[in-house]
Amino acid sequence: MSAFLVTAIALLVAVVPCAIVVARGDVPDAVVAFGAIASNIVMVLALIAEGFNRSGEFELPLLSAVLIYGSGLVFVRFMERGL
């Protein structure tokens, strides 16, 4: 197993504390933790693509970075209006 895949697993482990906050915290805490999870997942996708040596899969982190930013703004908007 390459160092990239080991790092991807470490970043997935780092998702666990954020997921606990999403599950147990109130809405502002959950939105903040969601942002952290989203950033972690973008990097996990890049690490998996590099670890398995697949050039075509490098589009996934790029697309998810754009989409996750949009979804974060939607969550923030709903939170402001009292979700």
């Binding site: 990239f4 906050v21 502002p28 942002g35 952290a36 950033s39 890049a46 982190p61 754009v66």
Partner: protein
């Protein structure tokens, strides 16, 4: 030498992500937690991007990775600001320290 540099940058990136996620877990409220999102969304991607750049060289892989990192570096501060503003509005009804009508009352005669 190149493999060692890749391992060092990947290890640093993973360590930053792990420590920051523990920080998100143990902090008290969203205002404090948001401080630990910034290392995950800026520092970890840059460290991992450097590792991919060292491993792949100047290639489409590195370009796409750094494009994603660049987008995150621009978008993340905006999202953090919007999040904390929304949390403040949700908490006290307005993002300002004093609402405009309160400020008029406290300023006194001009």
């Amino acid at each position: 030498m190149r493999a060692v540099a890749v391992d060092v940058f990947l290890g640093l990136g993973a360590a930053v992500a792990l420590v920051s996620s523990v920080g998100i877990l143990v902090m008290r409220d969203a205002y404090q937690r948001l401080h630990y999102v910034t290392p995950i969304s800026l520092l970890t991607p840059v460290l991992i991007g450097i590792a991919i750049l060292i491993q792949s060289g100047w290639s489409s892989r590195s370009a796409q990775t750094w494009l994603a990192i660049g987008f995150m570096a621009i978008a993340s501060p905006f999202l953090s600001h919007a999040t904390i503003r929304a949390a403040r509005v949700r908490e006290s009804g307005d993002w300002r320290l004093t609402k405009p009508d309160q400020a008029d009352r406290t300023e006194g005669p001009k």
